[in-house]
Assembly symmetry: C2
């Protein structure tokens, strides 16, 4: 199969419009008269992004949440979504529809349109487009981190990983960890608070380390992450401890939907966030446990091969 990076390279070569932001930024940023439109499209596929036994209402929630998380990283106000839906069995489709309504109501986002296609017995693929408007110009990108910046992440990491493990182990957990996996909360309010302050911002959908490497690459800087600083929830710690291995896993797992951002030193950060590293001249990701430099693990996060 074509690798994701190969295909994106092909696409990038045909996307010179500045609104495409060189396809590095999760969202298109389109200036239209007095407004700036933020537009994003994410797909989810059965067997890749969800297991066949997943609750269709959770699938609907994550489809909405993952797109809104891209808008959050732009400091955008979400307006609405368009759904691309592959029809399947009636019970699944109705449960999905009910879950979609729950999610849209929760996030205060309108269903604006979409399309349905027949299904010839294949695994499902779903798409969602989200549109929002910028609240802050310039709209944050992945590419603005500067040497000397401090690196922060909102909330805690690893809860979705722990929730996934509990669900997989058959605990049918309905506690905070399973909720972190099934019903992530994109950081929309935090994104709007942070957008005027940051030099660079993106959401952490594929793991802190992998996404940090992407932000460093887009900004042409090196980012040092200190695993000792990775924010863990008390529930996560009670389940998996806070040893180095546990912190490393919390930093290499996707589905957290927190915001990763860099700010100039001495910036007053007005959203709940933890400093996890800093930016310096160089390239790529470097990893520390306090003062001790660590080798990079073979996998930094979730890659869509």
């Amino acid at each position: 199969m074509t690798s994701e990076s190969t295909f994106i390279s092909l696409m990038r070569a045909m996307a010179p419009d500045p609104a495409a932001r060189n396809l590095l930024d999760d969202c298109a940023v389109i200036s239209l008269g007095s407004e700036t439109v933020i537009l994003t499209h994410d797909m989810m596929a059965e067997g890749v992004h969800w297991l066949p036994n997943a609750d269709p209402a959770d699938v609907a929630w994550k489809l909405v949440a993952s797109n809104l998380s891209d808008l959050a990283a732009k400091g955008a106000n979400p307006l609405g979504v368009l759904l691309g839906f592959m029809l399947g069995d009636d019970k699944w489709d109705r449960a999905f529809a009910a879950g979609l309504e729950t999610a849209l109501t929760h996030f205060g986002v309108a269903l604006l349109g979409g399309d349905t296609v027949a299904n010839r017995g294949d695994k499902r693929a779903l798409g969602l487009t989200a549109i929002g408007t910028a609240t802050c110009i310039p709209v944050p990108s992945r590419g603005g981190a500067l040497p000397g910046d401090l690196v922060y992440v909102t909330g805690t990491l690893g809860d979705a990983l722990a929730g996934f493990e509990l669900i997989e182990a058959g605990f049918d957990e309905v506690g905070p960890l399973a909720k972190a996996y099934n019903r992530p909360e994109p950081r929309l309010a935090e994104g709007r608070l942070l957008a005027p302050l940051v030099n660079a911002m993106m959401d952490v959908s594929d793991g802190l380390l992998l996404d940090t490497e992407r932000l460093a690459s887009a900004s042409k800087v090196e980012i040092a992450i200190d695993l000792a600083r990775i924010p863990l929830s008390p529930t996560y710690v009670s389940y998996r401890g806070d040893a180095l291995e546990s912190r490393l896993q919390a930093g290499s797992w996707g589905d957290d939907y927190q915001l990763l951002f860099t700010v100039a030193p001495h910036t007053e950060v007005t959203a709940a966030a933890t400093q996890v590293g800093y930016v310096r001249e160089g390239a790529g990701l470097s990893l520390f446990d306090g003062e001790t430099r660590l080798a990079l693990p073979s996998s930094l996060g979730y890659q869509h091969h």
Copy 2:
């Protein structure tokens, strides 16, 4: 499987925002400051919208063209697209990418973003979101046809049907009929010319008769179509003749991507179009061959079951 109409009914119940136009209109119409954004999303699935032996470049073209056709029916200026792509084998993906570039260049539309997902050996599903801006307020809808209006369609109908038959029969035809099927031209220029003139407009993607019935239903009127008036190309006539059966098929086949619209009597229609019927009080579609009323065929066009 859930029927398309059942699922859309579920969606409609949760789409009260006026920008959604009650999900009757193929596009969302969003007022943003000084601009009006037109947004549409269409999916295509292997085995439903294209056969496994189709040229990937043609699939890319049709994905772009079908979305731009929705914008054409709104009189919109297209700005760009976001692609939802399911990765597959390298040769297919590269041919698709090359075809996408050809289509985007041809239509002068930017690639703005999108998403890729892995493929676990399933048939492919692709999605495209197109964004444009309105050139005319109010933006045409399906719902504005008035009793007394005349009903027109741009271009000719049935060419895509004939092209599909030639391709299926193994003629590997590269002439105008195959081109009509593989490389349809959305009526963007015509849509902008017509938008200020029409009472109702939509694109003919699923067949003239089916789409006319939909327009009649959205407008709460009856529309009479005269099969004797259906515009056929000389190439189509030389291949399939112009007898009633041939006209009926030309009116019941999708993929034409012409514009169907209604105007008040005595309107000067400034785009190349043929009057095929008229609007009167009542409900639904009625069918004539000249003065002779015909029974409706069991299938009016392409339905996504």
